[in-house]
């Protein structure tokens, strides 16, 4: 929402004459400029006595906006970027990796849906420990105090079975160092953390073993459900813009994003994922978790995946 006045210092062409010309057409900010009919504006500028400088000012403004513009890529460039930068992260559970077509893909948003205590948080903790073990950082946004270092320790201990005890301690310390956990209790705190992360990633020159590769939000539905009610569109708008922010972080910084969601009752008594219809178009991959009552066995099926036609089921034993 940059007002045109603020651009005056950096771009002298956008002077007070230009600004008053724009305000006579109802243009006070850069966004107004984008919404306006540009050809009509240029036609008006032609009739103005200072048309040359006005047109230069318009060109200047357009070129500054151009700099922020996403580039037009072709298929080969996209494929190259995907193959070079967007790697697959193992979650630590072979069955889940098989369902996901290899693992969590960087640049994509994966959603785990399921009723409570169906294994979603365990899957998140397992993924965090596996990714941290492979020398990458993990950012964990915990909304319900469910992050458990003890559980991470048991996962690390399980997977390094043949190593001596003191080495396990050493590995564990490194793993826990790489998992950065934030407690967020409302959606605005989440936005704060994500914006901070975005600017940190943009500015920092990071060493290779501190690259953030996984971002977990457990659970995003508990942050968004309280704001979805009400008569206005603000709740939905916040939800969708959170989705876009996560996808932008994922794509531009080659991070895999993992979020969890709960279920609500739908028509005919069948449970369906929470957060409604609009949220369905946000994640790339959706996995449905369910657990039989009184057993340790989790059933996981694919609700949506870009490369898979339909729901495939797998049952996996996650010890809860």
């Amino acid at each position: 929402m940059a007002p045109l006045k603020s651009l005056e210092k950096e771009y002298p062409l956008i002077d007070s004459n230009f600004q008053s010309f724009c305000s006579s057409h109802g243009i006070f900010s850069v966004e107004d400029f984008l919404l306006h009919d540009l050809d009509a504006l240029i036609a008006f500028a032609d009739n103005h006595p200072t048309s040359q400088t006005l047109k230069q000012g318009i060109d200047q403004l357009l070129s500054t906006i151009d700099a922020l513009q996403p580039p037009l890529l072709n298929g080969l460039q996209l494929l190259e970027d995907a193959q070079r930068n967007k790697h697959v992260l193992l979650t630590g559970c072979e069955r889940i990796d098989a369902l996901l077509g290899g693992g969590l893909r960087e640049g994509q948003l994966t959603e785990l849906v399921g009723p409570s205590s169906s294994g979603k948080t365990q899957a998140c903790l397992l993924s965090a420990s596996t990714v941290a073990k492979h020398n990458s950082s993990v950012i964990y946004l915990d909304t319900g105090n469910s992050f458990s270092p003890q559980r991470i320790a048991s996962f690390v201990g399980q997977s390094s079975g043949h190593v001596f005890d003191n080495q396990v301690d050493h590995i564990l310390k490194k793993v826990l160092d790489r998992i950065i956990c934030y407690s967020v209790f409302d959606v605005y705190q989440m936005f704060d953390v994500l914006h901070q992360l975005k600017s940190n990633l943009r500015s920092e020159i990071v060493k290779s073993n501190q690259h953030v590769r996984l971002l977990i939000v457990d659970s995003i539905s508990s942050l968004i459900t309280p704001i979805l009610g009400g008569s206005g569109p603000q709740g939905h708008a916040l939800m969708i813009s959170a989705g876009f922010l996560l996808k932008k972080l994922a794509h531009e910084n080659n991070i895999a994003v993992l979020v969890t969601n709960h279920v609500v009752g739908g028509e005919d008594g069948i449970s369906k994922p929470a957060l409604g219809e609009s949220w369905k178009s946000v994640p790339h991959v959706r996995l449905l978790f369910s657990r039989d009552f009184g057993s340790n066995v989790c059933h996981i099926s694919v609700l949506k995946h870009p490369s898979m036609a339909s729901a495939r089921a797998a049952s996996s034993t996650l010890y809860l």
Binding site: M1, S24, H25, G26, F28, E31, D32, L34, L35, H36, D37, L38, D39, I65, D66, L68, Q69, P70, P71, L72, L73, N74, G75, L76, L78, L79, A82, Q108, G232, P233, Q234, H236, A237, L238, M239, I240, S241, F244, K247, K248, H251, D268, G269, G276, E277, S278, K280, S281, H284, L303, K304, P306, S307, M308, A309, S310, R312
Partner: protein
């Protein structure tokens, strides 16, 4: 004269878009709840357009504006290879594959202003591509047009118009989008295909109201579902609705054929709403076996 006639040739798409002839300047809207095969249909239309004529294609560039930011290039590549090799019966030509991938232009937008600006600058960029390659863009794919709808609706952006007519931001934005696409179409005539997801949930209207009755009726809902008509609420402003010239509704189908070789497939129903055709096509999306 002949060149003008050949440029107004209709697009000949393979099923499922084959029922109604489409020409440049048409705007086709694919509506459907998520998940339905909308992006899949877009990708197939794109591949048909990219392939050269001797492969059954239309031999021109395609522009894909990804507003959902969910496009998977690996899936696109897989489907393109599948089409080129016709499921393994033909040898895969690497130069052909590279040519087709290079003809696929892609841009991604994270909010309305980026979208507007992309539309505005497309003219110069497409002109450049045309000069370099000699082939123009004749297909514009937008996925999906309602992506920023909620954000635009809630936007507190107040534009102070000179005649005090406080138009809704949503209205202003839609007008700007339609205007920009129209201007683009004047210079680069294209067929526009846009997907739109349903965001207000669906209401199945049934011929009988017995579904609200007892449990037994609910169990036999598979029988009544064949008679349901899908209703969705139109949420795009009227300026976009009147810009659309053709509309297709896609939704997932519950009917599964009995044959067991249809595992790992999804079924969808496709229905033309504008112009109204009174039957539905069935689409089967199968996993591509690599």
């Amino acid at each position: 004269m002949l060149s003008r006639v050949s440029s107004v040739r209709p697009f000949l798409f393979p099923p499922p878009l084959h029922r109604v002839p489409l020409r440049v300047g048409n705007v086709l809207e694919l509506v459907g709840p998520s998940p339905s095969a909308k992006t899949h249909i877009l990708i197939h239309a794109a591949i048909t357009a990219l392939l050269p004529k001797h492969y059954g294609g239309l031999d021109h560039f395609v522009l894909f504006l990804d507003l959902d930011c969910r496009f998977d290039i690996a899936r696109f590549s897989q489907l393109l290879l599948h089409r080129i090799t016709e499921d393994g019966t033909r040898h895969c030509d690497q130069t052909l594959y590279d040519l087709c991938m290079a003809r696929f232009l892609y841009a991604r937008c994270y909010d309305t202003f980026q979208f507007l600006h992309t539309l505005r600058t497309l003219h110069c960029r497409l002109e450049k591509e045309k000069q370099v390659h000699g082939v123009g863009v004749h297909l514009l794919l937008i996925d999906s047009i309602g992506a920023f709808h909620w954000m635009d609706r809630a936007s507190m952006f107040l534009s102070q118009r000179e005649n005090n007519k406080k138009k809704l931001f949503l209205q202003t934005v839609s007008e700007a989008v339609v205007q920009n696409i129209r201007k683009l179409l004047q210079v680069h005539p294209m067929l526009v295909i846009a997907t739109k997801s349903v965001i207000f949930g669906n209401k199945y209207s049934t011929s009988s109201n017995e579904l609200k009755g007892n449990m037994e009726e609910r169990c036999s809902r598979n029988v009544t579902r064949n008679h349901q008509t899908f209703q969705y609420r139109e949420y795009m402003p009227s300026v976009w609705q009147s810009f659309v010239t053709h509309r297709i509704l896609v939704r997932s189908s519950d009917d599964h054929p009995v044959a067991t070789n249809y595992q790992n497939s999804s079924f969808y129903l496709l229905e033309w709403l504008l112009p109204r055709l009174n039957f539905a096509d069935k689409i089967v999306v199968k996993d591509v076996r690599t």
